[in-house]
Amino acid sequence: MLRSRHTLPLIVITLVVSALTVAGIMLIEWTPERASVQADRYWVLLLFLVAASALIFVIVTAVLIYSVIAFRAKKGDESDGPPNHGNTALEITWTVLPTILLAAMGVWASIVLIQNDRRDADRETIEVTSQQFAWSFTWRDGVRTPFETGDLYLPLGRQVELKMRSTDVIHSLYVPEFRLKQDVVPGLTTTMLVNANKVGTYPIICAELCGVGHGTMRARAIVMEEDDYQQFLADSQREVRTQDGSTPATASAATP
């Protein structure tokens, strides 16, 4: 009954709104480059979310626009509309379908989360210390002499586990290109796992309000090839030795 005269204009409006929505999605560069495996998993999940939310948005907007045009009361028309109190079939549909969509999303997201949290056997462990208002990164693996830097160096293609501590208030380590963020909490050690898969320099941003210097508390995450990374580790050992002026105490084997 109602369907016949509403269907065509409604479809037209839906197509127009869809076109604008899709254009908005495709023509704007929404996200920065991806530099980690976690970012890649995030990307696919995000696409699904974008599609689902665009669908809902288009339906709601199209119905709104169409209603305002088609059902506007004529001037002087004081009559009431039809006394529709509900439609059980419709209400069930619009409860069940979103539930299915959301359930799928929940399951997928849980899988991504579990995958992102898996620890690789060959991971590199680096300690992070945050304080008001600076980051410092410490390599302490029991083999080499511990050393500390102001930037984070990561090997390409290998997992890095960051063990993070704070000396004062809560901070948060955030690298947009990794799509990763983790609060750093005094009294705890929090961890972050990242599998960097693109060489480059990315900003480390503090993402939890920590006081006056919160906005400028920055560092860099530098992803380099495995060879370059080993070189960096070796170089830093030399620097530590030079600063110390003494021979380092190594755990077991003699230095090469």
Binding site: W30, V63, L64, A73, N84, G86, S110, L188, G211
Partner: protein, 916 residues
């Protein structure tokens, strides 16, 4: 059947004298109370520390905490919140029904403690909009700093204080109390109650907002709280005195909120009108009941979190100190356990408002009423189980993340049900796009966007990247501004006529909406992009590549600022000078529309009876409730049809009995009100005014609701002017018969139809009927006896002056005083000449707007007076004589002839005849 009801009545002082103490008394008391409170607040910690020998004696934050608390109590005691209870506690006789502080009879009552929920509602609304400006100014300062990267305007600590204050003021001093205020005014009327369950507690809830609000809004002066409105520890423990003020103020406004919520719950549970089952409650009542439950059970958690932070600050406790075994993240758990339900506290009442507005302006029942009711409750209950979705990256127990993600996703389902039900409500309706409806429709658009971005944030892997970025800022402003604030504006516009008794300006309302709608989207949508790109929140300095976008966003806020200014101007002007609002301008069906605008002191004269659901549009004869009219206007039942306005356009015919009879007949058909527009283009305004007064007097006497004015212009201009200012449903055009009517020659009927698009009824008035004085009632029938005085300026002026004072209908009897036989030629000549003069005088009077008729008789003045009284029903007689004619004997004779009718003697000068 009753046709109108008295508005805002004067009390009859039967039982309780209204408290007469002046404003200065109460505010002096409040000032003294505050000072005493400060002194006591200083003394108590000092005394304890001194007696127990605690070192050091002066611990600033501890003292500030106690002082702020006792000063608040002192203020509240001084302003009079506790007077009644103190009498009760001390064992005095008190009457439960003490109304000495009830009702507003002047503007002063709004600045005192008042127990009338309508007064409190308005006190809330004005106060929250004041804080809206404060919060908005903070926001603009934030945006000003953000328009370029780097630190320019304010230093880091002040900037952190600005966004912290912005959020805190908007949440605790605008959104939450705004809903409380609107519900305070409307809800009791909507359920058929005379007031809230606990009016004195209601007043206390409002007054607590004043000290609490001042503390929050004024703390920038002492060094603002700068840890965000979320006040995470340990940063909050580090903060300045402003942080202490924040912690104390949150307790105060939280207590205010809880007490108001308890009041709403008890009111809704126990004071619904008979017949209002829960399934006949309007959805606003459902929303407020659910919200009140959230407030009662949730707010204590933020109180607890702030107590703990406060103790860590002033007493060196170890709640959040890891060194002492404290748990930093525990703060977040306790805080968010309230603050997530808080966002539903800030949204559910808005949902209720939208349901009301969509039904009224679509002329359709709410689609899926039960689904909407159930989903409201579901959202509230589920809302207690999702708090940790604010903490996905906080370092909390990692096993909690997936369950919290799932519960958060589940909440999207009842929310979606609501949105679809609203769409179902407007679908196939008859949409009237007035300002409240525009806000409601705009809300659906922006809230859906906000809700969808929430789903992104619910998904943990996505949230890990997006939390603490501008994506969250975008989300919260879409749901708070595009959600809560839009619904607050919608509610204010919707119930403005009811609350103030005046209509706001529709055009400016629409301008406000469009400016804000466009401005809001243009300001906040780009923030999604900023968040994806990695701009963190709560920073003044950011990457250079975000500079252009931030500048654009800052400029865009101008649209909202202008819109808001227009809103305030519209509200202020309309409240003072807007056209009077009818009872039911929107033809709504809920109970608040069945009483006057504004309602009388106790809302209803008798408890109404609810007989059906609240949204039965489209069903012939369906009714929600039966309301009873006051006895003094006839008692009985006040039917539920809307009060419609009929515009009457009449010029010389306005006081004719034909037209007035027709109006009287029509008024019996329903509770009409009549607006007169008397076009006086090219004619004498005062005459038109006098005619109009006659008509209004006759109608008032008959109990017909009529008013109107003389309009400088033609009939079409008059029609357009009235239609612009008030909604008119029908037009009556009174004209002379075709052939005699200038209007009909000019096609006035068709032109009026085109101008209004409404039905036009034509009332044909014969010329002689137009000039005849309307019988009795409200119009003084004046008999004029004059012969030689006819035609003088003095006579005309005297009668016109009296007509200005009260509506007159004149009967002129001219006594010929014939001495000889009446059939002679001489007598005929005298008679003709007298008739001529009499007709001219009558003509002049009619032209001057005084209905007049008359005749010439052969007899003397006494006989003339007798004719005037007996044949024409004159209530009063004026005898005019020329100066120098000596009429004492005549006067005596007239008085004797018609005693006890009052006779006045006026002497006029013989002069040139009054101009023709």
């Amino acid at each position: 059947m009753a046709t109108f009801a008295p508005t805002h009545q004067e009390p009859h002082h039967h039982h309780h004298e209204v408290d007469k103490r002046p404003l200065s008394y109460w505010w002096t008391r409040a000032f003294v109370g505050t000072i005493v409170g400060i002194a006591v607040g200083f003394f108590i910690p000092w005394f304890f520390r001194f007696v127990f020998g605690m070192e050091p004696l002066w611990v600033p934050e501890l003292y500030y905490t106690v002082i702020l608390s006792t000063a608040t109590l002192g203020f509240l005691a001084g302003i009079g919140c506790f007077d009644y209870w103190m009498k009760y506690i001390l064992g005095h006789r008190v009457s439960y029904e003490d109304h000495s502080m009830h009702g507003a009879y002047s503007w002063r009552d709004y600045f005192k403690v008042n127990t009338d929920h309508k007064v409190i509602g308005i006190q809330y609304m004005v106060t929250v909009f004041f804080f809206f400006i404060v919060g908005g100014v903070f926001a603009e300062l934030v945006r000003a700093e953000l328009s370029t990267p780097g630190q320019q305007l304010v230093d880091g600590e002040d900037y952190n204080g600005l966004f912290s204050s912005h959020a805190t003021v908007m949440i605790f001093l605008f959104v939450i109390p705004a809903f409380a205020g609107l519900a305070n005014y409307i809800l009791p009327i909507m359920i058929g109650a005379k007031d809230m369950a606990f009016p004195r507690l209601n007043a206390l809830s409002f007054w607590m907002l004043i000290p609490g609000g001042l503390l929050l809004a004024a703390s920038p002066i002492v060094g603002s709280y700068s840890a965000g409105w979320t006040a995470y520890t340990p940063l909050a423990v580090q903060g300045s005195t402003g942080q202490t003020m924040f912690e104390v103020a949150v307790q105060i406004v939280g207590t205010s909120s809880i007490m108001a919520a308890i009041n709403f719950m008890v009111t809704i549970f126990t004071m619904r009108a008979p017949g209002m089952t829960v399934w006949r409650m309007p959805l606003l009542v459902w929303a407020n009941a659910t919200t009140s439950a959230l407030v009662i059970f949730g707010t204590p958690f933020i109180a607890g979190s702030q107590f703990m932070t406060l103790f860590d600050r002033i007493m060196n406790t170890q709640f959040f100190n890891p060194v002492g075994g404290g748990d930093v993240i525990m703060y977040q758990h306790v805080f968010w356990f309230y603050s997530h339900p808080a966002v539903y506290i800030m949204m559910l009442p808005g949902f209720g408002i939208i349901s009301e507005i969509l039904a009224t302006f679509s002329r359709k029942p709410v689609f899926g009423y039960r689904a909407l009711a159930f989903s409201t409750v579901a959202i509230a209950i589920l809302g207690f189980g999702v708090w940790a979705h604010h903490m996905f990256v906080s370092g909390m127990a990692s096993w909690l993340r997936i369950p919290m993600m799932l519960t958060t996703i589940v909440i999207a389902i009842p929310t979606g049900v609501k949105v679809f039900s609203w769409l179902g409500t407007i679908w196939d309706g008859k949409l009237h796009l007035k300002t409240p409806m525009l806000w409601a429709l705009g809300f659906i658009f922006t809230f859906v966007i906000g809700g969808l971005s929430g789903v992104y944030l619910a998904t943990v892997p996505i949230d890990i990247a997006l939390t603490d970025t501008y994506f969250v800022v975008a989300h919260i402003h879409y749901v708070f501004f595009g959600g809560s604030v839009f619904t607050i504006f919608a509610g204010v516009y919707y119930w403005f006529p009811k609350m103030t008794g005046r209509m706001y300006n529709e055009t400016w309302g629409q301008v406000h909406f469009w400016l804000t709608f466009v401005g809001m989207n243009v300001t906040f949508f780009p923030m999604h992009w900023l968040g994806f790109q990695g701009m963190p929140r709560r920073v003044a300095d950011y990457d250079e590549r975000f500079a252009a976008m931030n500048e654009f966003i800052t400029m865009s806020t101008a649209l909202m600022v202008v819109g808001t200014l227009i809103f305030f101007a519209n509200m202020a002007y309309s409240w003072a000078k807007g056209p009077k609002a009818p009872w039911n301008p929107w033809r709504g069906r809920t109970l608040e529309w069945l009483v006057s605008s504004p309602p009388s002191t106790f809302n209803f004269e008798a408890t109404p009876q609810v007989v059906g659901g609240p949204y039965q549009y489209g069903i012939e004869g369906a009714r929600h409730a039966v309301v009873f009219a006051p006895e003094e206007i006839g008692g009985g039942e006040l039917t539920e049809t809307e009060r419609r306005t009929i515009l009457v356009v009449a010029s010389e015919t306005v006081s004719s009995s034909t037209l007035l009879d027709e109006i009287r007949r029509k008024s019996k058909e329903g509770p009409w009100r009549f607006t007169f527009a008397v076009p006086a283009k090219g004619r004498d305004h005062r005459s038109a005014e006098r005619r109009l007064q006659v008509a209004l007097a006759v109608l008032a006497e008959a109990g017909v609701d009529a008013n109107g004015s003389v309009v400088d212009g033609g009939p079409i201009e008059a029609i357009e002017k009235v239609v612009e200012e008030e909604p008119v449903q029908e037009v009556m055009l009174a004209t002379y018969p075709s052939g005699q009517s200038g209007w009909m020659e000019n096609d006035m009927l068709d032109r009026a139809r085109k101008a209004t698009g409404l039905g036009i009824t034509r009332v044909v008035v014969r010329r002689d009927d137009a000039v005849a004085p309307a019988p009795g009632s409200g119009v003084v029938a004046l008999g004029v006896v004059a012969n030689d005085a006819l035609g003088t300026d003095g006579l005309g002026a005297a009668i016109r002056n009296r007509a200005d004072q009260q509506p007159l209908g004149v009967t002129l009897i001219c006594p010929l005083n014939l001495t000889g036989p009446g059939w002679t030629d001489d007598a005929s000549k005298v008679r003709d000449e007298a008739v001529d003069r009499a007709q001219r005088t009558i003509g002049d009077l009619v032209d001057a707007g005084v209905p007049a008729q008359g005749e010439v008789i052969d007899g003397d003045e006494a006989a003339a007076a007798r004719v005037a009284v007996t044949a024409y029903g004159a209530e009063r007689v004026i005898l005019f004589t020329l100066r120098g004619e000596g009429g004492e004997a005549t006067v005596e004779a007239v008085r004797a002839a018609i005693a006890p009718v009052e006779v006045e003697h006026v002497v006029v000068d013989a002069a040139a005849p009054a101009g023709s």
